[in-house]
Symmetry: C2
Subunit: 444 residues, 2 copies
């Protein structure tokens, strides 16, 4: 896989004059974002966007590190046969029309041709690959539709292109960065196991997210996951018998018994996401948060109801309420107005100021009875100012601090700034605590 | 309660020259939004924002329909005693400092004074009330912090001001309208039961949301809920023993056994929300959706993985997969390209056009085997256009159509427009199906 993402020269076979066609989008995106050499191939096109287009792959007459194929299924094998002529061992095959529509024979033949030449292939029937660091952008959806995230520590392995594209777009719009993105479709040759192995070693990848419909070699997958020293978050499509059935016509692979998957992934130390939102939330928190020492959580709030919901959820998810040390209690009671509730939840009440939050945090990070701080921030109250982000960020390296805050655009703005400082924010206390649960479990 | 929201003249006692003070905000918001007469009272202020300020409530010398009190707790009873002088029977008491901080005696005395004069009170220790229709805006948070939603069908009864404020702000930012909003704090005199009774009869209210920490008269509440002919969505703060304990210092009312509440609310036919996000989502869907005939759902998608996740969730939530009639299957197979999967999920695949969605919907609304249509829209694919909103809205009155769509700003924009047309949208298949479950249960 390394050679895919470290390619210096890329050929796109199947470029097109029609800008909406897959080959045209791929060529255009690479020209825009990739620093290396890009070559286009199409027997019927002479030049495109000011670049010479080659009739055949073999005409390029230079070493190509990565070939991207976007031609009809029937012509794919012809291209593969040409790859040795440019000394290329790596290919992303976007083309669909194989096993997923019953063309098992064609896919098997393709696999043989790849194996014979020792060529590694991503796909077939996939969205492509993306690397925010190297600028390799071989995703066939234009960035006007699927915004590309900037550099970050989250990598994705997606069997479904649609889910991959949506999550990339979502990450970008929320200002979250990614490392690598791999949509692998039918897994004709390379499989999730290969991608896991690679990303497990990739230094830019801090967290691996996997959307998967079927694993070919469960045992090997289990073993690799066990050995990966970073969080692997798994979402399994087709977890029910009925959803399972639908995967057959999607990526051509009938998924196995869901309970077997679940059990195996748990045993292998992966984080299981029940849905896409969980995957998004867990990955954000696991990427950014420092390691908690335990599961004793203090909720700090300036909106009583939010403190109560925080507490309810801490109990619901089997976490512990931190008990303030008598020292913390004493000191804060001295410093705070009488109406402030120095307990857990700590209610700084409706007239809370930034300074009051500062004091609460100062003592909370010092208190050895507290492992994690959940701030259920009510930014609607009049005395809080935008400076609250500085107050909170100041303590971010002392203990895991997570913010949950519900509201409209002023609240959203504050959360954006906090996130740019590395403080992970959630829209509701429930989603925050649900994610904290996974953070605690992973570091146990 | 009717007299609160139909008031033609309102007095604010405790106005202030400092714009951040509660009394000043209340006075200012009413001056801006309320069509009736507004009077300010403060013995130390002569005029404010160009309006004469009265020394005492009794100085106004006109009939006042509603008094709003924002003075320190110790002075509240004095104001109550003056209320008969302006013939006023309705009061919103914003002031805190009663039972919630252990001042049980003062609150009991206040209650007696109110009862003696047959005065109805919202509060004490509350955020206030709001009516998008009459413009009565007696919420003490400025609209720069808490945006006010426009007219709509969702009403809120909130024991916690913070949660109330956040949800108002959230609704406004998502373009959802409300009818009435009542934050009632300690429930000194009027209680949730009174509010439920009123909103049950209010013609502008289509759905009632209740955030509650404690109910005084459970039996009566149960009975009223049973008789309300619209959805009542309940979120209970302090559902765990630990959260429960925290409610004591919040609104001064020790909440009862959570299991008793849950059972009772269920028996009374209310919709139980497990968290704030659920309440927001359920209320949107129950307000807008037409009644489904059953629980057989068809998922239509153009992104295979999203169809699979939709299907997984339909099964997870105990709903049924609709089976297309043979007529629908036959017709659609004739009309669609070969690669489209005419099944459930129906996968219109990556090159889906608006027209293809139109055809799928045309046959799905006609098919008697389908009760509800879930569209898991993948707006990242290149051939869909903004016209997709017209295609979908065309069928909205035929059957409940719910859209789930994950992505960045182009996707968000499409969802906004769909919502303005009355199609409820969700960010993920899971939240969509979770809400559909409540829609089905309510109409069973």
């Amino acid at each position: 896989m390394k050679n895919f993402f470290e390619a210096k020269s890329i050929a796109v076979v199947g470029v097109s004059r029609e800008p909406n066609k897959v080959g045209a989008i791929l060529f255009n995106q690479l020209l825009r974002n990739f620093k290396g050499d890009v070559y286009g191939v199409n027997p019927n096109v002479n030049s495109l966007y000011g670049n010479k287009i080659y009739k055949k792959l073999s005409d390029i007459n230079k070493k190509i590190d990565l070939t991207v194929i976007a031609v009809p299924a029937a012509f794919v094998i012809d291209i593969i046969k040409e790859m040795p002529s440019v000394n290329c061992k790596n290919v992303v095959i976007i083309s669909a029309g194989f096993k997923e529509i019953g063309n098992d024979k064609l896919e098997l033949k393709l696999k043989e041709e790849l194996d014979q030449r020792n060529i590694k292939a991503v796909g077939v029937n996939c969205l492509g690959i993306y690397d925010a660091y190297s600028g390799i952008d071989a995703i066939f959806l234009p960035s006007e539709r699927v915004q590309r995230p900037g550099k970050g520590g989250i990598s994705f392995i997606c069997q479904s292109g649609a889910i991959g594209g949506a999550i990339l777009d979502l990450m970008a719009s929320k200002n979250y960065g990614v490392s690598k993105f791999i949509s692998f479709g039918n897994a004709t040759n390379l499989d999730s196991v290969d991608y896991l192995d690679y990303l497990g070693k990739d230094k830019n990848t801090k967290v691996i997210c996997v959307y998967i419909e079927a694993v070919k070699d469960g045992k090997k997958c289990l073993e690799i996951c066990k050995n990966i020293k970073k969080p692997v978050i798994v979402l399994k499509g087709g977890l029910t018998h009925e959803g399972n059935k639908a995967t057959l016509s999607h990526t051509g692979a009938l998924a196995g018994d869901p309970r077997v998957y679940l059990g195996a992934f748990k045993q292998a130390g992966t984080v299981y996401a029940e849905n896409l939102e969980d995957m998004f939330n867990y990955s954000r928190l696991l990427e950014k948060s420092i390691k908690p020492k335990g599961d004793r959580i203090l909720t700090i709030t300036n909106g009583g109801g939010f403190g109560i919901l925080g507490t309810d959820n801490i109990i619901k998810y089997g976490l512990k309420l931190a008990e303030l040390s008598s020292e913390t209690k004493k000191k804060l009671k001295e410093k705070f107005p009488k109406l402030v509730i120095v307990d857990n939840p700590m209610d700084l009440i409706g007239d809370a100021t930034d300074e009051r939050y500062g004091l609460a945090l100062e003592y909370a990070v010092k208190d050895k009875n507290i492992d994690i701080i959940l701030i259920t921030l009510d930014y609607q109250t009049p005395l809080l100012t935008p400076n609250i982000v500085n107050v909170i960020s100041k303590y971010k390296n002392k203990k895991p601090i997570i913010v949950a805050s519900t509201g409209g655009s002023p609240t959203e703005k504050i959360k954006r700034i906090l996130e740019s400082r590395g403080i992970v924010c959630f829209d509701y206390p429930e989603t925050a605590v649900r994610s904290i649960k996974q953070l605690v479990e992973y570091h146990k």
